[in-house]
Symmetry: C2
Subunit: 114 residues, 2 copies
């Protein structure tokens, strides 16, 4: 495996855990899978449909998202929205994110000044 | 699954990808597995031996860590240290971390002000 492959794999790993949080935050505004995938991609959280769609179903099963079919357009689409429990989860994860970020940055600085 | 279990699972997921980066940064200074696990735990990156030890072997196999046996103490211990390639990987991941953090925080603020 080349250095660039190792870097890119580790970068993906670094982003993976943030996708749940990003979905919960973006779905304050109802959205359907494909549009959400594009919003995520625009913000640097690249995730493919085979990962995102099962994740949305899992979050719905856990009660963190609610969904509704919109049948007013020619092609019916399932719209997801963050539930009140999902908002609580997002707030908890966001608070945790601050702690993780502080820990990562303090390690990063330690490395540079040693 | 209760809300607290979902929160704690998602928090673990959020941290998982940072463990590689934390190891590379901490192992600027040579360290052995158990001591590293304690350093990680003290900084909030809780990881068990069944996850950490294979991860260290993987990073060594990829050339990101180098190791040496210290046999001067009563119990021989394998000391790991970040290699020059590992330092490059850490620098790349740290730069990426800044971008991920900015994306997460901008989403978090969007959610609050909407």
């Amino acid at each position: 495996m080349s250095f660039d492959e190792i870097l890119s794999g580790s970068q993906q790993e670094l982003r993976r855990g943030t996708v749940v949080l990003a979905c919960l935050l973006l779905l304050h505004e109802p959205g359907y899978g494909y549009a959400l995938m594009e919003q995520l991609r625009d913000r640097g959280f690249t995730v493919d449909a085979n990962t995102l769609y099962p994740l949305l179903r899992r979050l719905e099963g856990q009660g963190m998202l609610v969904s509704e079919w919109n049948t007013q357009e020619t092609r019916p689409r399932k719209f997801y929205r963050t539930s009140p429990d999902g908002e609580r989860l997002a707030a908890g994860l966001l608070a945790d994110w601050g702690r993780i970020d502080a820990a990562v940055r303090s390690l990063g600085q330690g490395g540079r000044t040693r």
